[in-house]
């Protein structure tokens, strides 16, 4: 018994060693891009990385993670970043700029910046630190097999028949903290005193508070959740795959945010990184992302089919002007306190 166990452990350890050393073997020049998982990552690779590699011959290595984990990595690697370009959501983008890990986007090096709508360019004191790769919205997602009539209000989440099957974003999710503010508006609760909202949220019998968009998608797919807040990107992906899911914008509206591209300060391959961002800002890439993720393009003059237009965050006939965006400065200022209060008053109710 002893020898067999020991042999097994030795074999296990040496195998693990082989697997982990594989990553170190490639030494051709390559660009490391931080992006999200699931259908997001697939679309970014397909719509941006592939044409980029085709044009430049530079391989792209994907560093998969949510926006928040990407920022945590960037802060830890500040002195010598391993990431060249990073996609991060609105809100986290501002935090990253404040943390000093983001370099300016130079219109001379990234000529396609001039094709981007004003709403998709983020600048502070003359420094352009982020550019939008497309907008998405958070609406109500529901299981059409269990809920026959589309919900019309965010307040429907509190209906007793949905107990134990509700999915909401947790504060670890980049949409978690803004969701709290959004729900405060829905219930007419003062943003400065969120206590009444926490007791409302704490009273909800949720199936889960999802840490990532992927976790929410999984919950809707498995039937663990039958109603909840989810992004159009994840919901339409499920619907397109034939899952019995519906996505609706309730009467109080939906709020939108975007996935933004950033050039990392001190990146090893700044030139290639700028080329990569330039590729992402072409009409082809934006239209490809709209087609795959239903991201509302921030690039001007992108043509999409009617079917795609209907699923964009501003819906058929809408435009970028219709989006309800957030004041991220206010949200980021309260991020720590909202997280703390959520832990105490919602999770540990």
């Amino acid at each position: 018994m002893r020898t067999t166990t020991r042999t097994k452990i030795t074999v296990a350890l040496s195998l693990a060693g082989c697997i982990s050393s594989q990553g170190a073997m490639a030494d051709q020049p390559k660009l490391t891009v931080a992006l999200y998982g699931g259908n997001w990552g697939d679309a970014f690779l397909n719509c941006v990385a592939e044409p980029f590699t085709k044009a430049t011959g530079i391989a792209v290595a994907a560093e998969v993670g949510t926006s928040t984990t990407t920022l945590a990595k960037l802060q830890q690697q500040k002195s010598s970043p391993a990431i060249d370009v990073a996609w991060m959501d609105g809100g986290i983008s501002e935090l990253a700029y404040a943390a000093g890990v983001i370099a300016d986007l130079d219109p001379a090096a990234i000529p396609n910046l001039k094709n981007v709508e004003e709403k998709g360019l983020y600048a502070e004191a003359g420094h352009t630190f982020a550019v939008s790769s497309g907008f998405y919205s958070l609406g109500l997602t529901y299981n059409t097999r269990e809920i026959k009539e589309a919900p019309t209000s965010w307040k429907d989440l509190w209906k007793p028949e949905y107990a134990a099957a509700i999915a909401l974003p947790s504060p670890a999710n980049s949409s978690g903290v803004p969701f709290v503010f959004f729900m405060a508006d829905v219930w007419g609760i003062d943003r400065a005193d969120l206590a009444p909202l926490y007791s409302k949220l704490g009273a909800l019998d949720t199936a889960l508070f999802s840490d990532s968009s992927g976790a929410a998608t999984n919950a809707f797919q498995s039937g663990e959740a039958i109603i909840g807040a989810h992004f159009n990107v994840g919901a339409w992906d499920l619907i397109d795959k034939g899952a019995p899911i519906g996505f609706t914008i309730p009467k109080e509206g939906a709020w939108a945010t975007d996935a933004r591209l950033h050039l990392i300060k001190g990146a090893r391959n700044t030139k290639a990184a700028e080329q990569f961002i330039n590729t992402a800002l072409t009409q082809e890439a934006a239209s490809c992302l709209a087609g795959k993720l239903y991201l509302g393009p921030a690039v001007k003059g992108v043509e999409v089919s009617q079917e795609v237009a209907r699923k964009l965050p501003w819906g058929a006939g809408g435009s970028i002007k219709d989006l309800r965006l957030f004041d991220w400065a206010q949200i980021n200022a309260q991020r720590a306190s909202v997280t703390n209060d959520w832990n105490r008053k919602v999770t540990a109710k």
Binding site: A172, A207, L208
Partner: protein, 280 residues
């Protein structure tokens, strides 16, 4: 003679260098962060006061260690008989080998995949609930996900091999002559087990339990997935501070608190083990 002492030292150096580079250095960064604040990195103990002066954190610490202790206990109750079966009952070597492989192979798969497996099994519409409903035992699905029970099931599954391997090793080392002597002297099988075999395998049980307990107390993936964000353990609070609030100072203090509590618990378990050992 000199060469004889040099070789172990060199081997020890490699281990120490590895330990220093991959544990001590990053840990020093965490400790440093936990005692500083602001851009000028001024010394402060505020983060610790904030952690320990707040009832909420004590509740989370209690949940964390309750889950870890229950995981250890259940793993022991399931693992020891399993180890006994493998070492004492199975006579056919090929079958024993197959059992050990079955036990170890899941460890090649990532925790995430295995925890996802449990999410599928334990969900509202999962296999467990469907079977219970089909047999008419329950009318509405039992809630496993998002409960301590769900986390416990996942943790026991993932950590059970450690107990089986440690206890199995200890059992294999017990000379059957002791048991024969005990039997010859008139002890019942029960008395022989409790007075001879169990004390002799105690070091294995203790080392297995310590492994399981420390891994369970610091586990992140399994509780994060199976709790659905409805229950917090200390590792999840740490992750939240590092990955979404970006307060590395407060997160660092939480990490140090988790480590110290775990070390104290392990130290206590070690004492229990050595007291038992000296009784032999």
């Amino acid at each position: 003679m000199k060469r004889k002492t040099l070789a172990p030292l060199l081997m020890l150096f490699a281990a120490l260098a590895f330990f220093a580079a991959f544990f001590l250095a990053p840990f020093a960064v965490v400790i440093f962060a936990s005692f500083t604040q602001g851009a000028d990195q001024a010394f402060t103990v505020d983060h610790y006061i904030r952690v320990l002066g707040d009832q909420y954190h004590w509740d989370v610490i209690l949940v964390t260690f309750r889950i870890a202790a229950l995981t250890t206990l259940v793993s022991l109750l399931l693992g020891y008989p399993l180890a006994w079966y493998l070492v004492r009952v199975v006579k056919w070597r090929a079958w024993r080998r197959a059992c050990v492989i079955l036990l170890v192979v899941p460890m090649f798969t990532s925790n995430i995949v295995r925890s996802f497996g449990w999410m599928v099994l334990l969900g509202r519409k999962g296999l467990v609930n469907q079977s219970l409903m089909d047999t008419g035992l329950i009318d509405t699905p039992v809630r496993f996900l998002g409960t301590e029970l769900g986390i416990l099931i996942g943790m026991v599954y993932i950590l059970l091999p450690f107990i089986v391997l440690a206890a199995g090793n200890a059992l294999a080392q017990v000379d059957p002559a002791y048991e024969q002597a005990s039997e010859d002297l008139g002890a019942s099988p029960r008395a022989t087990f409790f007075h001879v075999v169990l004390p002799l395998t105690m070091p294995g049980i203790i080392s297995g339990s310590i492994m399981v307990f420390t891994l369970a107390a610091s586990a992140y993936v399994t509780p994060a997935l199976l709790s659905g964000g409805r229950i917090s353990v200390l590792s999840m609070l740490i992750f939240q501070q590092y990955s979404s609030v970006f307060d590395f100072n407060y997160g660092g203090a939480l990490s140090v608190v988790l480590l110290i509590f775990t070390l104290v618990m392990v130290g206590l378990a070690g004492r229990v083990g050595s007291v038992r050992g000296s009784n032999q």
